[in-house]
Subunit: 352 residues, 3 copies
């Protein structure tokens, strides 16, 4: 019997099945530094232990300094790849992703997934698998959880006519309700230092419908996207092996675009310090080394939250290949505009 | 109103103005490792906590192990970019840079600048801004300070005929006087381990006027210079965005050349353990990925300092594109010789 | 006198000579992160402090979390390059490499070598130097030791007819005997968590002669192999300087291929958690950026060891350029098959 892992195929999933993913991973200060070498991030909380302490997020000695929320997201997500999406045709979406507590160096993250939905495609050759995944730290506390659905190949496509499993479609919220957002224990923005953070804009300065062109662009390089993806122990071969794709190009991990766009969004959203939830995410086009990535944001909603000086903005973060000063999400045909790479809907915590 | 930062233009600066730069940054062991992956550095103090302890620079448990002085320099300097040089035409020079105390993992650096000089150019379209910048740690202690001058665009070039601000030129020393060098508290080279450090050459082995060809070369890659520059949160777009320059090439951050040359200088200056001051620096030509960088040094001066076993060498560090075994700084016309990328004048602390 | 290090030539070595190599190096969590960004490693012990604690390798607070064995190997080995192999024509082999104790962040490694053999080549222009090297930590405890032989140029080839030094050939074991393997103090695999580690295969599931195709491939990039090599302070110029080779290409450090193949071997050998010894290693062909590296393994031997739940597998790890599903080591002519880059013989500790 082969000892290598072929990954799961559509037939291998049953609703209610629980998969405990391998490779627990300890987060370190090294991750913060490598992340900072790969993305132009400048958010004050993960950049500065002193700033984090000033908003209640570390001990007085600077210990317990949170890393970027997306470091936790990518690590937790990467754990699921070998079991859920090694044979994926496409990542179709995320929903209901909530960050329950900051992740700090020394935390060890493990991820477990439950299959919550299945739908075989009419061609009988693949199907959509819905999972709800939960990442916990070494104390068993939930760090983040999320739902995700992917289209997965069937192992055996010769039985395309065989009966499909019963279709089960989970109910997923179009967005995390503001009342369900988790604010980190101790967070207090009432003495927030806007000068240190880099911009004066606060909760009340943002209006629903406002769009912000983040101006800056970054040209992707081959090494950088691979280093990022490896750091999360994401093993999908299309990112690393030029022989794995007919076009001989390495596909950039979608999470690399998320992190790049989030970092670029600093310019205009410097005070969107923490990601509280990801409501939805679509990777609308592939990206490759040589592409120059820009970002723009739209304010979708605003909400008050129960923590001193803290408000929540629901934001659409759009990454584009080439700058689009018109900030057009969709064309008249309703399809994503050319150049759009990512459409991410999330909640950020900002000072009021 | 746009929420993004357009940077300051020449008209935005006034003599006496104090700018508190954003994004305090905590230094970590991760920075040391990434630095070591990007530069061929082998200086024993930042490489080894045990060696650092043997010269009085860490506690007995190895805690407080200093990072490379240039890590502190690049971080502190990077803070000033969004406010001072986002609209710079050129970095014209540095002076009077002193390192006041070693920076260790856990330190959070913040930078403040005061405008100390202004001179509008005769074309009325740009001007030179002189600032003195000070980086402090989380306890408010000065880590390093320096003066710098940059040529900055005017926002509005239609009023080229409008009166210029009064010209103020600061007095800047051509070099930090030996008596003004700060020796780190506790530094003691009297039991210095030359074998562990890699070379036998001590203070008295170097003579003024001596030149050292550091022999080794490194071919620059696209990813590496960008990772370095990002690590310092330096946001100047010419380094990252191939669409930002007419030639479609990313300009290498001048500090990348400084760090590369400093690391290459190990071969012949292995005992130049600490940088005490930077007297002057000129980036004399642009560098790009694919260029192969070499370095040579000239001993400019020698001085005794008040610490056991410690001497100071004033050195000129020259980086070149392609090796120049003749070590020629300037041609007969007085201009920098072709291939010279960097002319850096600094004080190093060495064992006597 | 030149102050730069020309390295040692064949004439500079005498049997019995002891060389204390320069540049002690403190291992940090940053090294773990950079390593994880460069290699697709997922072994649970170095990935997770919690997992390491569960097998007896860290304190209850997660302190003392071992790094990858190969991090220690590369650092310890890199120290010897400036003295032993700066003028090497070729790295001929390794033998008798044993890992005596896990290396953890905070450890400072230093390396010493003794010349144990010499043999001048019949052409009088070069010779083979055999050294036994020992890396110790800051407490003087042995971390690892190994023998190595390299072919080194003579400085002066005009005296090719001069008498050669007496030939001394050391006795080196073809493999470390199972009884000589060192098991880390405290290692206990009796409660090993196979699900967290990623595969169910244990000691008794592997049979001598079995071959495992590790399936995955990674296309090498220019930056990544250089970053890795620099991280180990390996200064051999052929890796970094495109002007140093007639073909204008940077040669990939052989250790980069070892680490890449080891990481790829996770898929089928996820439970080969620790490297106890390296019996032999041959770099059989050069590798360059753009090559896609795959790996396969062969089980060479099995042994019981004196630790709870622990067994030892002797494995041949073969890296190839391009995938070879036939897993052919040598052609009918007895020579390495085309595409073979590395033939590494080692002992791994696995759960029983």
């Amino acid at each position: 019997m082969s000892k290598t892992n072929p990954g799961n195929f559509f037939e291998d999933f049953q609703v209610g099945q629980v998969i405990r993913h391998a490779t627990p991973r300890t987060v370190t200060e090294g991750d913060r530094a490598v992340y900072g070498s790969l993305y132009p991030t400048r958010f004050a909380v993960p950049s500065s232990a002193a700033f984090a302490a000033s908003v209640g997020l570390t001990g007085p000695d600077g210990s317990g300094h949170p890393v970027e929320d997306l470091i936790a997201f990518h690590i937790a997500f990467g754990k699921t790849v070998p079991d859920v999406s090694l044979n994926a045709v496409a990542n179709l979406g995320y929903a209901e992703c909530r960050f329950h507590r900051p992740v700090v160096p020394g935390d060890t993250l493990s991820t477990t997934s439950e299959v919550i939905g299945l739908k075989q495609n009419s061609n009988g050759r693949s199907g959509v698998v819905y999972v709800r995944s939960t990442a916990t730290n070494q104390r068993g506390e939930v760090a983040l959880d999320w739902a995700r659905w992917v289209m997965v190949h069937k192992r055996d496509t010769s039985d395309a006519g065989a009966p499909a499993p019963e279709t089960v479609l989970p109910e997923l919220a179009p967005a995390v309700a503001a009342a369900d957002l988790v604010v980190p224990a101790g967070l207090d923005f009432s003495s927030y230092d806007f000068e240190a953070a880099g911009e004066p804009h606060r909760f009340d300065d943002y209006v629903v419908g406002e769009r912000i062109d983040h101006v800056d662009g970054v040209t992707l390089t081959e090494s950088e996207h691979q280093q990022a993806t490896r750091l999360w122990q994401n093993t999908a071969k299309v990112h690393f092996n030029k022989e794995a794709r007919p076009d001989g190009r390495n596909l950039v991990y979608g999470g690399h675009i998320i992190s790049m766009a989030r970092a670029l969004s600093f310019n205009g959203l410097a005070n969107a310090q923490l990601i509280a939830a990801i409501n939805a995410g679509a990777h609308t086009a592939p990206a490759f080394a040589g592409d120059t990535v820009y970002a723009w944001s739209e304010v979708l909603d605003r909400a008050e939250v129960d923590a001193p000086g803290v408000g929540a903005l629901r934001l659409r973060l759009v990454a584009t290949k080439g700058r689009d000063e018109s900030m057009t999400l969709r064309g008249e045909d309703g399809k994503y505009a050319p150049g759009v790479l990512l459409d991410l809907d999330y909640w950020a915590l900002v000072p009021r």
